[in-house]
């Protein structure tokens, strides 16, 4: 009888110890901004059959990593390596390039964004989004005096690709025209909104909010030119978001 | 015989010439046992003759090599030396019931017999007929649709006998056919063996139940330690001892 009691006590104590240990671990492992990302070489040597799956895993990891750090400590040290890894393993994974480029913009590395997009365009020459985004990035971040022209070149290249939207050509024209900086920036962000998915749209709205006047009249005047250069549906969606808090 | 692994030594004779249904000459069988592959000699020169139309009993204490002898005769094992001759035209004319048989859990009794019939190349019509006939013979018609997994030992034994007879064999080898059967079952099996004998079939069975052997067999052989130490008719045995038990004890302990 005694033996049984002792046995039960021992087992219960051990179980309690197991639970207590786990519960007492720190709530969250310190979020390490620098994460080990293997070089693409390592995975390229692995089976081709699972390359895309590995790319997908790292893509999801990348999205999560970005989400965790961009609003927190803002350190995205491993992001470039991740973007490179995913895009090397899966060169036709368009979303990875585009997400990566914008995320790297947040990581204060627009130069790397540009490189990534160029690689993306090399691997996917039939995809107009790449040259279109390249144009945007040149305009937004380059410091050359003739960046407008370079950006316009990219837009023209994009427009030359079959099935690209019509407004790309118009954007090129706007850039080469005489309008002010703000006006051109508005056009760029409009294009990003039109071309992009939910993530890009958030970025576009954020970018526009930064440069648009706050008064309703001025805002409407500033946004008006987008009517000509954006597809109707996207224009309406964008204006809905920009004028959300305003009285009709 | 064209079965894999059957009949080495001096070659297999065709049935027509010999009167023997089973003819085993100087069979030796050695197996490698355990991790170190220790050589153990199970059969040490078995000589056995079973005449056509006989009901033959193979007796002996446990470990004498009875089951091994039957397996070598069937080609399930290859003899290390010696010869095997079956007086029938191949395994298509043989029926075999192994000791403690185990069959496919997931099949019903009927499905299992159908499978066995297929293995003998019977066509659909003949299969159906034969399966139903045998189910009647072993009184398993009611349980024919139940999965073998649910059969009792006695039922398994009976389906085992049925599968041994599915091809209407000339030579029937039964290893402990009475195990697990209730008195009714045992009587049924005895009747089956008697009927086979009446139809001129050869039956050989191993058994520990000497009363059954006395009732059914005309000739017997007694094995011990891998050899046949006595072979003859039941009458000859009873000349030398008051009962078969006494004769068996006498021979085995000599």
């Amino acid at each position: 009888m005694l033996r049984r009691v002792v046995a039960i006590v021992v087992v219960v104590a051990c179980a309690a110890g197991v639970v207590a240990f786990q519960v007492s671990r720190p709530a969250r492992a310190p979020a390490n901004p620098r994460v080990f990302v293997p070089s693409p070489r390592f995975f390229l040597d692995f089976s081709p059959s699972f390359r895309t799956s590995i790319a997908d895993v790292y893509y999801l990891y990348m999205v999560q990593y970005y989400g965790e750090h961009v609003t927190g400590d803002g350190k995205l040290d491993s992001l470039p390596a991740m973007v490179r890894l995913v895009t090397e393993l899966s060169p036709h994974f368009t979303r990875a390039y585009l997400f990566g480029a914008f995320a790297l913009m947040d990581a204060q590395q627009p130069g790397v964004s540009y490189e990534i997009l160029k690689h993306g365009f090399e691997a996917n020459p039939g995809n107009w989004r790449f040259p279109a985004y390249l144009g945007f990035f040149v305009y937004a971040f380059a410091s050359n005096k003739d960046k407008d022209r370079i950006a316009a070149d990219w837009y023209t290249k994009a427009a030359a690709i079959p099935e690209s939207p019509a407004y790309l050509q118009r954007l090129a024209a706007v850039l080469l025209g005489k309008g002010g900086e703000t006006g051109k920036a508005i056009q760029m962000w409009g294009q990003v909104y039109a071309a992009g998915d939910k993530f890009s749209r958030e970025k576009a709205v954020a970018g526009l909010e930064r440069i648009l006047p706050t008064s309703k009249q001025a805002r409407m005047k500033a946004v008006a030119p987008l009517y000509d250069t954006m597809p109707r549906q996207e224009f309406e969606a964008l204006t809905a978001e920009l004028f959300k808090g305003y009285a009709p | 015989m064209t079965q894999d692994g059957l009949g080495t030594g001096s070659g297999a004779a065709t049935g027509a010439q010999s009167r023997a249904a089973v003819l085993l000459r100087d069979l030796h069988k050695t197996v490698a046992v355990g991790f170190l592959r220790r050589q153990v000699e199970i059969l040490r020169g078995v000589d056995l003759v079973v005449d056509r139309g006989d009901v033959f009993g193979l007796l002996g204490p446990n470990g004498a090599g009875k089951t091994t002898t039957v397996k070598v005769a069937l080609g399930l094992m290859r003899p290390t030396s010696g010869s095997v001759q079956l007086g029938v035209e191949g395994l298509g004319r043989v029926g075999y019931l192994p000791e403690n048989p185990y069959f496919y859990d997931y099949l019903s009794g009927r499905e299992f017999l159908g499978f066995c019939a297929r293995l003998f190349g019977l066509d659909a019509g003949a299969r159906h007929e034969r399966v139903e006939e045998l189910l009647r013979d072993v009184s398993l018609v009611d349980a024919a649709g139940t999965h073998l997994r649910k059969y009792s030992k006695g039922m398994l034994q009976r389906i085992g006998i049925a599968q041994a007879l599915i091809n209407d064999p000339e030579l029937v080898l039964l290893d402990e056919p009475m195990t697990g059967l209730d008195p009714v079952g045992r009587v049924e099996v005895k009747h089956i063996i008697e009927r086979l004998h009446e139809r001129g079939k050869t039956v050989m069975f191993n058994s520990h139940i000497l009363s059954d052997v006395h009732e059914l067999c005309s000739r017997i052989a007694i094995m011990r330690s891998g050899r046949v130490i006595w072979q003859g008719t039941v009458d000859e045995a009873l000349d030398e001892a008051p009962s078969l038990e006494d004769f068996f004890m006498k021979v085995v302990t000599a």
């Binding site: 390359r51 | 399930l76 395994l91 997931y106």
Partner: protein
């Protein structure tokens, strides 16, 4: 031929009724649904995520089913001694091996088809894409698994079922890395290692030659000629492996 058919049908019945199989299939379906969740955190890449991870799940669970069922197929018969019932009838060892293989292939076809159609429907519903490539990818996975089943059956004729299962999985993994072995053969540093690499390269089935999964997510365009050639290669490989298995099995005693 009739025996081959009988054993094939029997094996199919045996494996498809295995409840363990059903559990695995359910797990596979769960995993595929897990791809849905992954898709939801992927910023609009549901289609790709579900396709990719779904195919990995089909591959993985298909492998588990193939290996564990194949490993036990032969082993179970020997262990449960149903082989006695089988080989005391005119059944060739080769027909046995072939029948086991084909029967299991039938079951695998049902399982993979189920998972494949489910994945196809999932992709259609979630991403609005009727992706025929997904079905083709599943078909290619099936072809790969044929080779794995053959190799596992081969290993199971030689001994333990668990070892056969483990080796089957190893061969699958090795097959995925086949092109690495090819690279080794071209290093040319040492004629001995080069020769050894060639031997390994030929023996291990090549699963990296055609990658339909990448095609399913848009990473590759596929040449039908290539796929056809590779399928023929795998079928030839299966024939060789099964022949070897039959040879080993011929020597076996029960």
């Amino acid at each position: 031929m009739k025996q081959l058919l009988a054993i094939t049908i029997n094996t199919f019945k045996e494996t498809i009724r295995d409840r363990v199989l059903a559990v695995i299939v359910v797990f596979a379906l769960l995993m595929i649904a897990g791809g849905l969740w992954l898709g939801s955190i992927s910023l609009g890449e549901q289609g790709r995520m579900i396709k990719d991870f779904g195919l990995v799940a089909v591959s993985g669970f298909g492998l588990i089913v193939a290996v564990f069922v194949a490993a036990s197929l032969v082993h179970k018969e020997v262990e449960k001694r149903t082989v006695f019932v089988l080989f005391s009838k005119p059944v060739s060892r080769a027909a046995f091996i072939a029948g086991k293989f084909i029967g299991l292939c039938g079951t695998m076809a049902v399982v993979l088809a189920g998972m494949g159609l489910f994945l196809f429907a999932l992709v259609w519903i979630v991403a609005g894409e009727a992706s025929g490539m997904v079905l083709l990818a599943v078909l290619m996975i099936y072809v790969q698994l044929l080779a794995v089943v053959a190799v596992t059956i081969f290993f199971s004729t030689m001994g333990s079922a668990i070892l056969a299962a483990v080796l089957g999985i190893c061969v699958f993994v090795a097959g995925q890395l086949s092109h690495n072995v090819l690279a080794l053969t071209r290093l040319g540093k040492n004629p001995l290692t080069e020769a050894l690499s060639w031997v390994v390269y030929v023996i291990v089935p090549n699963f990296s030659a055609v990658d339909v999964k990448a095609g399913a997510v848009g990473e590759q365009t596929l040449a039908w000629g290539q796929i056809g050639l590779w399928t023929a290669y795998i079928l030839a490989y299966v024939v060789v492996v099964l022949a070897l298995a039959a040879l080993v099995f011929r020597r076996k005693e029960f």
